[in-house]
């Protein structure tokens, strides 16, 4: 049985004060907090097992290697990848996207087309623009409607034999919209295009089954899933990962090096040059264990409850507008008070100990669409409570009073 008060005890940071007030942490879409179980794993790793992996004959190196590879398997099982070598450790979502974008440089030519969506954040726009510049391919954008949903009829029109790659986030970081990725993947495969799904925002809420989705690439970050920063994952279908050239050269990713020629290591090491974030990878595995022990369905149900409650309560405030009103959303509410800049609201909320994100959320095209400088974004996690939402609502009222 899910008991939020028990859960909160796992997160030491949730009991601290900010500006003299109990912390209300509603910036989970930017980064989630870390439970004691994961922090303990980090301490244990550095206290007892720290060594470089895959190349030492000594005991510590073997232990560290085992822990790291176990974490890879945990991630494989979690996302239901067919092979553990389809799981590439990265420094995070952005790294995973860049790895794929870079790899496709040698596979694309002039006249090829890449499709992204209007709901992307900068990390899923800029690498593709750079790829287009390198290859002469063109970038097309699936537009969105006033609810913040992608217009699929437009997607159908722009899809063609020229489409080689499609990059869409599963969930929009700025609006919380859950995109119809199943539809996109199926349609893409009909024209032979590959699909990369950015799961940075969905992975903390929705358990993705990469085989069932039949997706070609899927990226996620540990720090949004109760894990540490600086580590993430790229899933790629074996056939694609074999086709892509290595991203970075260095140790670990080689089979044999002479000054004449280097042969590359097998997957996944081909894409893991240098000493990785060993502890981070292990802690990522621990974070996934932690979330699975609670259960993703339980998490999603509870977060939906929070979303509904917060939406209802916030909309009672006169002049408050919510951006992103899709029926299919994760627990993200982007809003503005009429005539008041989001930065001002965020500043007052911070003084009240409430952490929200303000600004354009690195998704400027979305803000341009709504003709706003940004929004205040409150994003909820399973360790948040309805009482905290009440605090937010009171805070927003106070901000409105002070700023009007």
């Amino acid at each position: 049985m899910f008991n939020v008060n028990d859960i909160r005890k796992d997160f030491p940071i949730l009991s601290r004060k900010v500006n003299g007030k109990p912390l209300v942490y509603f910036d989970n879409a930017a980064t989630s907090q870390t439970p004691q179980q994961v922090i303990g794993g980090i301490v244990d790793y550095y206290s007892n097992h720290n060594a470089n992996i895959h190349r030492g004959v000594h005991t510590l190196s073997q232990e560290a290697t085992d822990l790291y590879e176990q974490a890879r398997q945990k991630i494989q099982v979690h996302f239901n990848a067919k092979f553990s070598h389809e799981i590439i450790f990265t420094s995070g979502t952005t790294h995973g996207i860049n790895l794929v974008a870079n790899g496709f440089s040698s596979l694309l030519k002039k006249g090829d087309e890449i499709i992204v969506s209007a709901l992307e954040h900068h990390s899923n726009i800029v690498p593709w623009q750079m790829l287009c510049e390198r290859t002469g391919a063109t970038l097309k954008v699936i537009p969105m409607n006033d609810e913040g949903e992608l217009v699929m009829t437009e997607f159908d029109i722009m899809l063609s034999e020229n489409t080689k790659l499609i990059f869409v986030n599963h969930v929009s970081n700025a609006l919380g919209t859950v995109n119809s990725i199943e539809y996109i993947i199926e349609k893409a495969h009909q024209v032979g295009a590959a699909v990369l799904i950015d799961g940075a925002q969905s992975s903390p809420h929705i358990k993705a089954d990469v085989q069932k989705l039949n997706v070609d690439f899927y990226v996620a970050s540990a720090h949004k899933m109760c894990g540490p920063t600086g580590v993430g994952v790229l899933y790629g279908k074996e056939e694609w990962l074999k086709k892509l050239p290595p991203y970075q050269g260095g140790g670990e990713m080689i089979a044999e090096v002479t000054f004449e020629k280097t042969t590359y290591a097998e997957l996944p090491h081909k894409f893991e040059a240098g000493t990785p974030n060993i502890c981070g990878g292990i802690a990522f595995g621990a974070a996934i264990d932690y979330m699975n022990a609670i259960g993703f369905e339980v998490i999603a149900n509870y977060e939906n409850e929070l979303l509904e409650y917060a939406t209802e309560e916030l909309l009672k405030i006169e002049g408050l507008k919510i951006y992103g009103t899709s029926k299919h959303k994760t627990s993200v509410i982007s809003f503005n008070l009429e005539g008041i800049h989001p930065y001002d609201v965020g500043t007052i909320l911070d003084k009240l100990g409430i952490a929200v994100r303000t600004g354009h959320h690195c998704a400027q095209p979305i803000m341009d669409y709504f003709k706003i400088p940004g929004t205040v974004r409150a994003s909820f996690s399973f360790y948040n409570t309805k009482a905290e939402i009440d605090t937010l609502v009171e805070g927003v009222k106070k901000a409105k009073m002070m700023l009007s």
């Binding site: 930065y343 003084k351 400088p373 700023l403």
Partner: protein, 140 residues
């Protein structure tokens, strides 16, 4: 009045407030009172653009003193720039260049000093001083 005198005056004003709420309310009011910049100067070249809010600053020379006008799309930011303008406007370039800005700490706005806030106090102060340096070069 010298820059230092004005700063002391501002510190005195802020010392009357008992809590952050009163301080912020005062800043918000200052922002509302800020003389708006002439629209022709709200150009991209006059903008201090950050991730959070926009600030426009314009400077012109009158009787060997620099007159600053500014605006922002966020009211708290406007309050902050209003305080800076009050401090540095109608002063000689040399005095602006040499002025200390520790008074920001004394009025309880330290959190706005973070260098990562691209449009925060640090970059605003830098911008005002840049204008002063430019005018000083002209005077030499």
């Amino acid at each position: 009045m010298s820059i230092e005198d004005i700063q002391n005056e501002i510190i005195d004003e802020f010392s009357m407030f008992e809590d952050w709420e009163e301080r912020y309310q005062y800043m918000i009011d200052l922002g509302k009172d800020l003389p708006l910049i002439d629209d022709q100067y709200k150009t991209d070249s006059n903008i201090i653009k950050g991730c959070q809010s926009k600030v426009w600053v314009h400077a012109e020379m009158k009787d060997n003193k620099i007159v600053f006008t500014a605006d922002s799309d966020a009211i708290i930011t406007k309050g902050i720039i209003a305080i800076l303008i009050r401090t540095f406007s109608n002063q000689q370039p040399k005095d602006i260049i040499e002025a200390e800005t520790d008074f920001i700490d004394d009025i309880g706005l330290k959190e706005h000093l973070s260098p990562t806030r691209a449009n925060g106090l640090v970059s605003m102060i830098r911008q005002l001083k840049m204008y002063a340096i430019a005018y000083q070069t002209q005077l030499n």
